[in-house]
Symmetry: C2
Subunit: 419 residues, 2 copies
Amino acid sequence: MRIELINTGSELMLGRVLNTHQQWLCRQFADRGYTVNRQVAVDDSGPAIEGAVREALARAELIVVTGGLGPTSDDRTRDLIAALLGRTLHEDPSVVAHIDGFFKSRKRLMPASTRIQAMVPEGAQVLMNANGTAPGLVIEPNVGGSSPCKLLVMLPGPPRELRPMFTNQAIPILAERFPLPAPFVCRTLKTTGMGESQVEEKVAGPLKHLTDAGMDLGYCARIGEVDVRFVGRGADAQKQVNAAESIVRELLGSLVFAADDEQLEETIVRLLTARKQTLALAESCTGGAIGNRITNVPGASAVFLAGLITYSNEAKQQFLGVRAETLAAHGAVSEETAKEMAEGARRKTGADFAISVTGIAGPGGGTPEKPVGTVWIGIASANGATAHRRFNAFDRETFKNVTSQHALDLLRRQILGIV
Amino acid sequence: MRIELINTGSELMLGRVLNTHQQWLCRQFADRGYTVNRQVAVDDSGPAIEGAVREALARAELIVVTGGLGPTSDDRTRDLIAALLGRTLHEDPSVVAHIDGFFKSRKRLMPASTRIQAMVPEGAQVLMNANGTAPGLVIEPNVGGSSPCKLLVMLPGPPRELRPMFTNQAIPILAERFPLPAPFVCRTLKTTGMGESQVEEKVAGPLKHLTDAGMDLGYCARIGEVDVRFVGRGADAQKQVNAAESIVRELLGSLVFAADDEQLEETIVRLLTARKQTLALAESCTGGAIGNRITNVPGASAVFLAGLITYSNEAKQQFLGVRAETLAAHGAVSEETAKEMAEGARRKTGADFAISVTGIAGPGGGTPEKPVGTVWIGIASANGATAHRRFNAFDRETFKNVTSQHALDLLRRQILGIV
């Protein structure tokens, strides 16, 4: 089955906006056993949209078009596609009522211009927009001739409108209309602490009997993480994927920190919550990046007490009790300072665990002995404090991301008692 | 002039990776007076890449293809395009030497597999990769017939390799080969504190004589920001854009915080550095997001002393000196607590300015009086402390982004003495 995505919007072609629909929609399809074959972005102009849709109609069984369903003059997707498919538009009273209700619930008058969004092409199915006014539309193009296209779906451009509409309304329609030929099972194990090629070296051989039997095996390297992904199809899909998961968990042990979509910070909050334990942070060079990640997790307040971003030496002494002699003898970026920072954060907050980070993010501040990228990560717990050196010579933001990943993984190991 | 981008990579079609090339490359072109007309992403397979390139050859004068130049078996772009254009490949000794030097400088042996990256299609110009091994390639397709294509550029997939190669090596070639028909001037003013439609209402009328004379005027709404963008072409381009900038700065005054690509956190660090003033933060619900933004700016250490992420009430008392009575009488999310947090951060660190944030990020924790999204932002300076209520009812991460934007803008106004 061939699937094509068309993202419309002049702002995309001017580089003013990042296109996140591509990844999100491709991922939704992939996780359900479908593969998108092509994605295209074009500007808002009539010929550009028409051209892209016309080409897709000649190739794809399913076409998803995003954007251009709003009320302004550059929202032309609905009209253009209706014209291309020879459908007249009529006003749908249920959509008018929905738009009216949307504004009423916000105690605002319905602007006259928004009413155009209630125009629905003949024969189209309406997907009401739970988070906005423009409805989605599902059309059977019925263009006949050589077109393989069975369904064309139009979705509104804003991600917070598109995403729930796709998941809750479009997916059930698509699953019914395009049933998978066989069972499909997808599982991702998330690992940290080993490079992509090392992971592959460890697991590819022991999984060979499963990949030979048709199971897909994939790797994806991210910042400080490597995903291992199994895809099974057919009667043995679940059995194959389960077997692969067991083998990889056995081989990689504690390098596997989570499955599927869980982020490392979610793992941390989950582990601490289950153990009723608490956390404090002492960040220097990461400047709040670790606290930001932890507090992105709903429920973090149950386990996260405080973070001290001690950028200056004075702050390290004042808020964490790092000793002046330690700073003078070893410098701010040192094993000793990292340990005292973690110990101080734990002592001052009474948390079960504290992690500290002190390093040189760059571009300035490096020396021959401590070049840019040098970082010490400290961990304090009831068992005392240790510190670990890492060398993350990247641009400033990547340095912060990689270092926060290292710190959270050291914490995970400490929580789980893995040495 | 028609430009098309082709991004290759099966990981893109599986939604494992976010495609940032589209926005970045489109923006690079737009800022130099060129517009990308279409962007396509396809998987790594031969037919998919061939099909996309063949179609682009029939339409575009300039084609940019990204990805698939590496050493592994799924890197097929170079071979496929060479075959499509009827070019033989030969090993380029200067590329071999570059790859060898790349590994030598990292004290590693050159893996035999990487040598394939030195295979260059006949007649192609090589762009050496300053941050990796795969070179970029520039080819005049010369396919004759009806193809308008004058240049096809292949770039490596990793952003840290692609970006400097495009800016430093590809752009000069493109600018020479495709000179703009007339002068081009682009300027963006970044504003905060007013919605997109309000900004448009204020400035569109007074700029009408310039847009009537051919200057482009565009708006782009981001989280807590609206960009106003002027594009002039032709002999009067610079004069038009200068006039527009003066008019908008006059009309919007202090709502304009920066020009072109400067982020609000960069504005803050720039202003504080110039004034030799310092900053401390007291974050509750934003959990380090503001500290993270400030410390993303190189040179932040000159102005940023410390951030106290006081998630628990105990931490607010211990590290910021918020009084227990205040918390008991008004709650953690209140004007009084926000003021005491900011005052405490300023007093404890000796910073010139301190900002504080306390609110309810959700999804839990809301009450009828203080629903999810409620936030108080405090500011302390030599002039005393004030606090400002905002209501940012979004998902958790958007809440943190919008709130950090509000806090940084209040700080900017305080630094500049704007009431």
